[in-house]
Structures are given as C-alpha cells and as structure tokens.
C-alpha cells in the first residue's frame, strides 16, 4: 500500500509537469486526466475511496470533458500551438519558476522540520462522511447548492450570444 502511494504520487507530479510544459491544449488535457487519475489512486491509498470515485467522476469526467468541448468550439489550429510555443520562452518562465521553487523549498523544510506524532493514516468510511455532511455541515451543503445555482445562471448569462438580425426591418425594430 505504501509503494502504491509513492508511485501514484510520482506519476501525478510528472503528469502535472507535462501539463505545464506542453504546447498543445489537447495533449495538456490528456496529461491532466492522467494526473487526476493518479491523485485518485493517492486518495484511495489514504483511505478515502469515495473521494477517489468523486475525483474520477467530476474532475476527470465532467470538468475535463467540459474544457474539451469548449476547445472544440473555439476551432484552434496548428498556428495556435506555434504561438503558444513562442509565448513560452525560457526568459518568461525562469523567474517565476525559481522564485516559486524557493517558496516550495521553504514549505518542504517547514513540513519536514516539525516532528509529527505517530503518523498512521486511517480509513474514513463514506457513511461517516455522509452523516457529517447532512448533520453539522447542513448549512454548507445548502450554500453549495446556492453556489451551483449561481454558477448555472452566470454561465448561461455570460455564454449567451447576441442574436444576429438579417432583415433590415427587424433590425430597425430592434434598434428602437
């Protein structure tokens, strides 16, 4: 079980790095699916099998497919890949990467330096999660519902396009 965790973690890091470094959007999304699947395996080894299923269904299933549909609607070509390649020069990414690596090194030091007492990961059943979700966290669930509703309405409102008017009579009437 321990080796599974480390292998899945390594796969997740490598796949995420490939997402960041690839120029083609579709390739990046395929690596992103691999990354999400690896993180789902990590969840499973940490004793959260229900969250692993949710990760696969919602992240790798719904969100990535939504992004792929939008990319298909945008009708991107080979020139966009070339433009992406020209945007991603070493002079652009070297500064933020080095500074962020310094921050990551500090984070690693802070996590490792603190000695944690007896670290054993314990499995939490989905039933316990459900009981807590509909017990003390009821308000959070309702707020999530409101958030999703706002997301639906917002996406519909923002994604609506103006109707193209072809007849000049209708155009005049729409203008008045």
């Amino acid at each position: 079980m321990e080796a599974t965790f480390y292998i899945a973690g390594a796969v997740a890091v490598i796949a995420t790095l490939l997402v960041v470094m690839s120029y083609n959007l579709i390739h990046a999304l395929l690596y992103l699916v691999v990354s999400f699947l690896a993180v789902a395996v990590v969840f499973f080894t940490l004793g959260a099998p229900f969250m692993a299923a949710l990760e696969i269904i919602i992240y790798a299933g719904a969100i990535v497919v939504l992004i792929i549909f939008v990319i298909m609607m945008l009708n991107l070509t080979y020139e966009d890949v070339q433009q992406e390649k020209s945007w991603l020069k070493p002079s652009v990414w070297i500064g933020p990467a080095i500074l962020s690596l310094v921050l990551l090194a500090e984070l690693v030091y802070l996590v490792v330096a603190v000695e944690a007492p007896g670290t054993v990961s314990v499995s939490v059943e989905a039933a316990a999660v459900g009981m807590a979700l509909y017990g003390p966290y009821m308000l959070g669930v309702q707020l999530c519902g409101i958030l999703l509703m706002a997301g639906i309405v917002g996406a519909y409102h923002l994604g609506r396009q103006k109707k193209k008017i072809v007849h000049r009579f209708l155009e005049r009437r729409a203008a008045s």
């Binding site: 890091v13 959007l25 999400f36 993180v39 990590v42 940490l46 962020s100 966290y137 999703l148 994604g159």
Partner: protein, 102 residues
Amino acid sequence: MSSIPMEAGLLLAGILFVIGMVSVMIRRNVIFMLISVEIMLNAAGLAFIVAGSHWAQPDGQIMFIFILTMAAAEVSVGLALILQLYHHLKTLDSDAANFMKG
C-alpha cells in the same frame, strides 16, 4: 491501515500546488490558466484529504466535496467568459483583454 507518513501527502500537495502556481504565472493562454487553477484547487483538496485521514475525521473529505463543488461552478463560469472573450477579441491571449471596456 497503511503507514503512509503525513509529510509525504502534504509534500505531494505542496509540489502540485507550486506547479499549478508557476503555470498560472507563466502562461498567456486563458484556457491554460484555467487548467492551472484546477490543478491548484485539486492540490488544496489533496491536503484536506491527507489531514482528514491523519486525524480519522470526516471533515477533510467534506471540505474536499465543497472544493469540488466550487471548482465545478468556477470552471463553468470561466469557460463562458473564455467563449465571450474569444468572440470579442478573436484570440485567447490574456494580454489582449486589458482595456477594461466591453
């Protein structure tokens, strides 16, 4: 159950978060920036799961469900915005949308 140290999980979450953060900063394509924000949210959820499994409490997994909900709402609104941006400007360059005018 298994003897995975908590540090390893937290370090994995930190590494994934930093990769996503660097990607947000270096990319100019809006869709790549959205993908990177998803990576960062996923890393934050991983940290919650690690902590929840360490203390054997369901709260960590509940926080992950909330993060998942927020990510779904965020990606739908973000993609609608990207579609409008592309229809207006005919490009995905985030620098092209800097004049704050419809």
